[in-house]
Symmetry: C2
Subunit: 226 residues, 2 copies
Amino acid sequence: MKAGADIAAEADVAGGRQDTKEVILDAAEKLFAEKTYSAVSLRELTQAAGVNLAAVNYHFGSKDALLIALFRRGAIELNRARARLLREAEEKAGGATPPVREIVAALVLPAIRYSFTSTRLALYNQFVAFARGDGPAEAREMLDKEVGHLQRFALSLARALPHLPQHEVYWRLHFAMGVQHSLYTDMKRLETLSGGLCQLDDLDAVANRVIDFVTAGLEAPYTAKG
Amino acid sequence: MKAGADIAAEADVAGGRQDTKEVILDAAEKLFAEKTYSAVSLRELTQAAGVNLAAVNYHFGSKDALLIALFRRGAIELNRARARLLREAEEKAGGATPPVREIVAALVLPAIRYSFTSTRLALYNQFVAFARGDGPAEAREMLDKEVGHLQRFALSLARALPHLPQHEVYWRLHFAMGVQHSLYTDMKRLETLSGGLCQLDDLDAVANRVIDFVTAGLEAPYTAKG
DNA sequence: CATTGACTTAAACACTTGTTTGAATCTAGC
DNA sequence: GCTAGATTCAAACAAGTGTTTAAGTCAATG
């Protein structure tokens, strides 16, 4: 049985090999993003991580549990960063509503940072498919909690865009998430489309681009039908 | 050996059972979208399609070849529809450049239609992962050809948005594709986020929403850095 | 130093995977 | 009506899957 894994986390960091649990998570993050959760075998995964085959089942219980732990690690960090930025923007605005552009920045910046430093976000869709499919109820609950975090942004945007009906705000927030997704899926397509002209190199430039696009989309005039 | 499969395609349509090849493609389209290419076994797939286990290998050669054929069927139809709409918009504009909004409509409308009638588009990301991963060169070539079709839209948009440098046009076209993707991935999130308020029910309304958002994003002022 | 408990390891387990086979069935064409 | 070729079918195949086991290693504790 395991026990002190959490306490003795940073056992021999300088020694070269970090905590096994985290080594596995890192390797899984990379491989699941490159291929697919179900396309990556535990043998391939553990070999890439440099750990024994049984390590995954020992430390996480099962392959499914590994995916859940992996998603949890990423979701917590991401939502924490988003919430902090949104709070800062709200404080800066005093009692008033922050401008749309700053709400968008709070929503989008953490994800953009991840796009530059890791493949962490790329497995979101994988996890959704897993959760909706055969995945356990625990996975579905995590997705629901994820939605809960987005509600704060929906609220803020609704206040900043009073000319829009509530459901339109939801739709446009959804589209904004789609733009965000485009940063860690299909980047290859953009690179070949642009002949190598467009790449994830300058974080500030990319961030500005995304924020410009999304802000304009959110602020677009509302053309109700007939 | 097979031979007359293509000619005798519509053998007994009225009899109840359509061509086996297409029954398999339809079932695969549905299942691959719901779960994942590698998460769907041939046994599950053939059972859902009501055909024998060996039918896939007989008609397509392998599971991989089935995925490729599936993607090809969808890509051809989609690109054909897009190209037609773009051509019509250009003809309507005479020699001049069509307005951004109509270019966007040509790009987006066919995909939106598919989102309402089938799960066809949902496997795009799956296919990308497959092609970049262990997939055969044939798959990668298909993706490149896909990019080629997008070039026509990049060109049209560049003409309609002369104030933007070329690479910025590419980026924004990329974002537009991201918005499009949001229609067939994560719709569940939007539904729970909005408490069931937002759904894929009224095609024209959704189309207008998407076109409004994307057009505004594309036409956003260009804020070059430094 | 011996012992405990967390961790690692190699081997085996039961099971599912995609694919192949060879016989059975069906369908035109002479 | 019979033959030839396309299609279907049940059964088997080899390879790979996630998981479990039991022996082994190691560091800290008493």
